[in-house]
Each structure stands twice: as C-alpha cells, then as structure tokens.
Amino acid sequence: MEAILSSNLKSGDIQALFVGNVLGDFSEGQGMVQSFAADEIGAKNIPASRFEGACASGTMAIRDAFMWVASGFYDMVIAGGVDTTSKMGTALGTRTFAMFTDGHYEYPSGLTFPGAFGMLTHQYSAKYNIPLARLKHQMALVSVQSHKYGQHNQLGQLRNEITIEDVLNSAMVTSPLQLYDCCPFSDGAAAVVLASEEMAKKLTDKPVYITGIGQASSGRFSSQKEFLPRLRARELSVKQAYDMAGIGPEEVDLCELHDCFSIASIIAAESLGFAEFGHGGELWEKGDADISGRIPINMSGGLKSKGHPIGATGASQVCDIVRQMRGTVEPQRQVDDVRIGLTDTLGGDGIICNLILKRGW
C-alpha cells in the first residue's frame, strides 16, 4: 500500500500485480498469495502472478513487470515480494531452503545452502591460492561493513554493530562458515510501482528508470563443474543488463548484491565486474566497497544485517537504491549523488537476476 500511496495512486489504477513468494506454503500454510494480495490492496480481480525462483523471486517479479510495461501491454503495475521464513524455525527453515538444491541427487548427502557456500569458500581459497585465514578475514570484513551501515537502517533486522572478532568467534555453521558469515531467516515485504515513462513523469518529478535487466539459470551444483567457484549464471545475467543499459561496471555508483553468506559477496563482486577474479575480498580490505569508496556495496546492510525475507529481497534492494537516489535514507548510510544503481539476487545456486536503475532527473 505504501508503494501505491506514495506514488499518489489509488488501488484501482493498478492493472496487474507481480509478486515473488517462495515459502508461504510452508511458513503460513498459504499458497496463491498473489490473488489475495491483489484483493487486499483493493485492486480487485486484476491479473496477479506469483514468481518462484528461490531468493531471486522478487527481482524476477520486477523484471517480468518491467517487460510487460516496456512492451506497452500495461502502463501501471505493482511488483514486489513477501516471505516470512523466520516463522518456520531453523529445522524446517533449513529443510525448505534445501529444497533449492537437487532433491534427488544432492540433498540426500546433507547439502544445505550454507553448505554449498562453505564448499565454495574452500574451493575459492584453493583455486586462487588465498590462505583460508586471510580469506576468512576478508569475509569477516564483509559482515562487519554490512552491520556498520545496516545498524542505521530503520527497516533492518539485525541492527547492531559487530567486530571482526565477533565474526571469527561465532559458532561454526558449516565449515568454514561461522554464524556471522550467514544472513538470518527474515520476515518482510517490499513493493514498487512500475509505470510507463509517460505516466511516471506525471506522477513524480523524481522518476527512476530501469535501463537494464538480466536473468540466467544453472543446474545442480555438480553440473556447474566448468565454472565453480564462479557462478556462470551471474556473469551471463549481468552482461545482459550492462549491454541493455549501455554501461559497464565502472559507471555503477551503488550496488546492492546478494550477500546471503560473506563469501557470496566476494564471489558476486567479481562476477559483476568490480574486481578481478580472486581479488574480490580486496574491495573490503581497501575500503573500495565502503560508503565513499569506488563502488559502495550494500549500504542497506545487505542480507546480513538488513535481513533476507527471500521473496522480498530483490524488491527491497530496488526500494533502497531508489531511496538512495532520492536522498531519503538515513544520513549515516546515504551515498552522495547516486545516478546509476545495480541490484543482484541469487536464487539457490541457479537463478540470478540483475537490474540496473538510473536516476531520471
């Protein structure tokens, strides 16, 4: 409703709804949320679609909504996501998240999501010849920075500052990942209104344009043998987005990327073009990913501190970049003069979706 009201719209103006929702069936016993959501907001009987791509679902919903509006089929829609995964508790939460591994060939061995990233951490350390102790220090810096800014996010979940020692002394989850290398289970929702350029200009003097989109997929973990620890789908997806927007990574002013685990940030930053392969951790070591660095990353607090309500995560990234552009986030985490922003979401090990946003004034 906040998205509709702050856009000076009425529910009846919305022509279609696109929502990312992953685990509502398990956490709330609620399927088909799209239909009920449309009715709840008073947009009665409009076409409503649910997107499921694990943790990339919200971005998938926005990407699809964008394509429908860009095609001219609609000129005013709402897109976003919702999930309440903390309600399931750790055991069922871990079981349901593990459903995004291959249920026949990989889950039986005990693979979980943190497990996959624990394996990637060891492989990364060996492949790029970075001693595990140094890599773990870089990873701790990622979590520390997320909390440094996330503590100021009024909408965040874990709003406390943490130290490198806190990370390195936290409980072992799946070697070598410790508790503070991992994002929490979260409850949350986010939504944006997407309008045609003509309509947007009538509604606001501060429109934000989607100028690039990308999406790609991969198979089971072992099926990615040619590329791991790189995630090929991200490289393909972000290239689509950069090419469509006609820009390169050096033109991005702010990035919200998928830091489900600290190592995931390092791997993502490389694939998005912000660092050479094997050097992603240096962005945090040298302050390049910090608020006044070359490419500020996750000033929302990221999944680690802001939280990771999976179906909503991609939409919340978009909301935060829009607010950054409009200069309306908390001053402690406001980046100067954001003109171009990039979002990045990873569903399982397989679905990656990227959006490029451009300030329209």
């Binding site: 871990t94 026949h104 060939y105 990989e106 039986p108 061995s109 693979l111 409980a171 990942l177 099926s223």
Partner: protein, 145 residues
C-alpha cells in the same frame, strides 16, 4: 514418434548405488560421461546415451562439515559433504566417511584421491516424492584412497 524416455532414471541410478555401483550415461556422440544422469549429455547435449558403470575413483574438489542439518536429520550432524571429480570427468556430490569430521581441514582433504565406499542411506521424508523412494536415497559415499 515413441515417447522420449530417460536412459537412466533416478530409480535405477539409486537402486544401483545401493549396491555400491555408480552408473553414468556415456555419450555415443562425444564419448563423455554424465553423472548424475540427465536427459541429455552434459557435455554436448546429445540424446544418444547409454547407461554404463563408472570406476568410483576420483579426487576431492571441495568439502564442508555441516553442523546445522535439516528437519528430520538432526542426528546426522556433523556431516562431511564433499564434491568429487570422478576420474571419468563428471563431478558428484556425496559424503566422505572414515575421517573424523572435526579433523577435516583443507590440508587433509583438498585434491586427495577417494574411492566409492558402501553407500550411506537416507530414509525419505514427507517431501521426498512418494513411493519410488521406498527404501530411501542411496548417498554417493566415498573414503580416502
């Protein structure tokens, strides 16, 4: 046209693994192997595939020791999960046995040769896909060579 069928179904792969035999698909077009099986050759996309047995030998690509397990599997922790590159080429996810998970370090494991061991089993749960899993999942299980 005949209905398209899997050359190696999960059911047959699983039944064979229970008997400690690792099956794969060998491609009549490029000669390479796909394991675990898919509908088409992983390497070239061909559907000209035959089910064959692999040696079960390989080396460790990476691993993790998981201390948090899913619902119904609480007694399993800590569990040592490994990705193995088989000598025939494919990678397969499985478990490593015969080593104390708390002593699993990169120095002890990365790149080390392994061979197929007696398959550990996982009983199905309510999300496991029904009757075809009666008897449970055979887990690719390896020990250090």
């Amino acid at each position: 046209m005949k209905p398209f069928e899997y050359k190696l179904t999960f059911k047959d792969f699983n039944a064979s693994l229970r008997k400690n035999k690792l099956l794969a698909l060998t491609c009549g077009s490029c000669g390479k192997h796909t394991c675990p099986p898919k509908l088409v050759c992983h390497e070239c996309g061909s559907t000209d595939l035959e089910s064959t047995a692999l040696s079960g030998k390989g080396k460790i690509v990476t691993f993790t020791v998981s201390y948090v397990t899913a619902l119904g599997r609480e007694g399993e922790a800590p569990v040592l999960i490994t990705m193995v590159e088989l000598e025939e080429g494919p990678w397969i996810l499985g478990n490593l046995v015969g080593i104390d998970p708390d002593r699993a370090t990169m120095e002890a494991l990365m790149g080390k040769p392994v061979r197929l061991a007696r398959a550990r089993m996982l009983p199905p749960d309510q999300y496991s896909g029904g009757k075809e899993l009666k008897g449970g999942f055979a887990r690719p299980t390896f020990s250090l060579d």
